[in-house]
């Protein structure tokens, strides 16, 4: 009985190792091939520099204007993270209330669907008119963009708790708190992490778009400003920074996932 168990795990682990290698290789290939594809695209399309500057020019901007880029990046990161934290707090609080107060779910669901699907540019324009160039409208937009996937996933995750486990907990007369911390939350965790994969990267795009609409700081503003100065090289540099941020956010979530679920690939030898 013991041996097949071990064998299964071992095979799993081997698979995971090769997979991780190929994952890393894929990122390496991407990083290497972006400039190559870039140069090819320029050759094939013949786009002039003001549409598609050569990669070395953009790399040069990334280096020489690093301080400017860094300070705007920081603004965007702060807005994205703040908004994302708020979105998480709201979404998790709502999911929990849905679990214990089903009427809340019936009441709130239509609203969340509407809020999710109203074109957020409309809301953004109004917010910007009311609140001006403060961090608040950007944070609100990030919240609007990111909270729904978290809400949907965590709600589903909390309900996905194994009924057999819940019954066991009940016969042990455990408190609601214990049921939540020991069964509900661990069951919701994979769903929650899956939500991060979508929403965390979304938070950065959300902040950039909000700044793009109106701001005087942040990557979105830098895009507007660079475009109005006809600095295509800087526009592309900002694009690269924003993409790198999003990829970084994604990898961070992946790493956290790997850490939290490391027990799934634990080495038994």
């Amino acid at each position: 009985m013991a041996l097949p168990g071990k064998a299964v795990v071992f095979v799993d682990l081997a698979n995971d190792r090769t997979k991780r290698m190929s994952d890393r290789l894929a990122y390496l290939i991407m990083i290497v091939s972006v400039p190559i594809l870039w140069v090819l695209a320029k050759l094939i399309t013949g786009f002039p520099d003001f549409l598609l500057p050569p990669p070395d020019m953009v790399a040069d901007v990334l280096w020489t204007e690093r301080e400017l880029l860094a300070s705007h990046t920081w603004t965007t990161i702060v807005e994205a993270l703040t908004g994302y934290a708020v979105a998480n707090a709201i979404a998790i609080a709502l999911s929990i209330s849905f679990l214990y107060l089903p009427w809340m779910e019936s009441l709130a669901l239509p609203w969340t669907v509407i809020i999710k699907n109203v074109p957020f540019v409309t809301i953004a324009s109004i917010l910007i008119i009311i609140l001006g160039d403060t961090p608040l409208p950007k944070i609100i937009i990030v919240v609007l963009i990111t909270f729904f996937p978290i809400l949907a996933n965590v709600t589903k995750g909390l309900k996905s708790a194994d009924p057999v486990l819940l019954d066991r907990m009940q016969t042990l007369d455990s408190s609601q708190w214990e049921v939540f911390t020991k069964v509900r939350w661990p069951s919701a965790l994979p769903y929650y992490i899956a939500a991060h994969e979508i929403a965390f990267t979304g938070s950065i795009i959300g902040a950039v778009v909000a700044e793009w609409l109106f701001a005087r700081k942040g990557l979105g503003y830098l895009i507007v400003q660079s475009m109005s100065q006809y600095r295509a090289d800087r526009v592309w540099a900002v694009t690269i920074v924003a993409s790198a941020l999003a990829v970084g956010a994604y990898l961070l979530v992946k790493a956290i996932e790997k850490y939290l679920f490391r027990w799934q690939v634990q080495d038994l030898t």
Binding site: D49, R231, K258
Partner: protein
């Protein structure tokens, strides 16, 4: 696993380093802002002389390194004396023309040229592509989406030409010879039904709430640099294109054109409007400048010449027949519900800008004016010319 952890740590360290770079950046930005008011306050005359000398140096440098002739020409404009004569058409050229604004009465010369058949007379079929907030027809021109662009802020032309990622375009004529850009507000000390004679200075905007449109903050940035207004002491807000926020008290001033929004205030009974005219304070570019790609200019100068002839004819008609032009404009200006009276008021306000203070015929520009504007822009950080920094 371990390697992932290590690369994560590296990433985190990079992020930290990135954020550490933030610290010096604001400090670096604050310096000129702090230094400038000091200079302005302490030794006004001295610094004025200084900045004038600086300006002369830059102007000389601009004339040598980035002369206006490299991006503008008058040579395709019709001679002032030329009589209008329809051409024999072998075929018709269809072109798209990017307009400087939404379709209101600003585009009256082009409406005239369509309505009165001037374009048809020169074998052109013209589609006017509306502009407005968020649309930069200098870019759509460079990208090829339009064939000719009429650019609201002429100063954008040297900007795009001198950019590290430049577009090769040529300004071939102008509608307005002076910048109509203003910051428009109401004078609380003058009764509503009387005209205000208040003169605004840059210092009046410290602590004020100013609404500007999307891409226009380079205009503010210029003034702030030139007069040492700390950038964070003016509360900039996003503005639409009506002066309503000023009436509602949501903003103290709003970015506007002298020929447009003031008449809207007047119509609502607010005669006490007051304007800070950028052209009085060192920002005086051409407005509604007609621009083409250099390739069009070189390969098909005849097309440009014909277009400019019809445009100028429409412009002359506007100057000579404002009444009829206003009637045409309210029909063609589909994006704004304007009355003929409003259009007439605009024409009245804009005539001085069209005719200008030089001795040149309408639509003609001068290298000297262009160079001075560019030098100002270089001096106050709105244009980067490596040779002249």
């Amino acid at each position: 696993m371990n390697r992932i952890t290590v690369s994560l740590l590296v990433f985190a360290a990079l992020a930290l380093a990135l954020s550490a770079c933030v610290a010096p950046a604001p400090a670096a930005q604050e310096e000129p802002a702090e230094a400038a008011p000091m200079a302005a306050e302490e030794a006004g005359e001295m610094s004025e002389n200084d900045s004038e000398a600086e300006f002369e140096r830059i102007l000389a440098c601009v004339e040598e390194n980035f002369p206006a002739e490299s991006y503008f020409t008058n040579e395709l404009l019709p001679a002032a004396s030329a009589a209008w004569e329809p051409m024999e058409c072998a075929g018709v050229d269809t072109i798209k023309v990017g307009m400087p604004w939404v379709l209101n009465d600003e585009e009256a010369p082009w409406y005239n040229a369509i309505e009165l058949g001037y374009f048809a007379d020169v074998c052109l079929e013209v589609e006017l592509v509306a502009g407005g907030p968020g649309v930069d027809h200098l870019q759509t021109l460079a990208g090829g989406a339009v064939d000719i662009a009429v650019v609201a802020g002429g100063s954008r032309v040297p900007s795009i030409v001198s950019s590290p990622t430049p577009a090769d375009v040529v300004a071939v004529g102008t509608f307005l010879k002076h910048s109509p850009y203003i910051w428009l507000g109401l004078d609380p000390d003058t009764p509503q039904d009387q005209r205000s004679d208040k003169v605004l200075t840059p210092q009046d905007f410290i602590g004020a709430r100013v609404g500007i449109q999307g891409n226009d903050d380079y205009l503010f940035s210029f003034m702030a640099n030139k007069y040492g207004i700390p950038e964070d002491e003016v509360e900039l807000m996003e503005a639409g294109f009506t002066p309503d926020p000023v009436l509602m008290g949501a903003m103290d001033y709003i970015g506007a054109w002298i020929v447009n929004q003031p008449r809207l205030l007047e119509e609502k009974g607010f005669m006490n409007w007051v304007a800070f005219r950028f052209s009085d304070w060192g920002w005086d570019g051409y407005g509604d400048v007609t621009v083409v790609r250099r390739e069009t200019f070189e390969e098909n100068p005849d097309l440009v010449r014909r277009f400019l002839a019809a445009q100028t004819q429409g412009l002359n008609y506007l100057l000579e027949n404002p009444d009829e032009s206003a009637e045409i404009a309210v029909v063609y200006g589909v994006d704004a519900q304007l009355t003929k009276e409003q259009a007439l008021r605009r024409f009245e306000l804009q005539e001085a800008l069209v005719v200008g203070s030089d001795d040149l015929p309408v639509s003609h520009m001068s290298a000297e004016r262009w160079n001075m504007q560019v030098a100002s822009m270089v001096q106050y950080d709105q244009l980067q010319l490596e040779a002249c920094q």
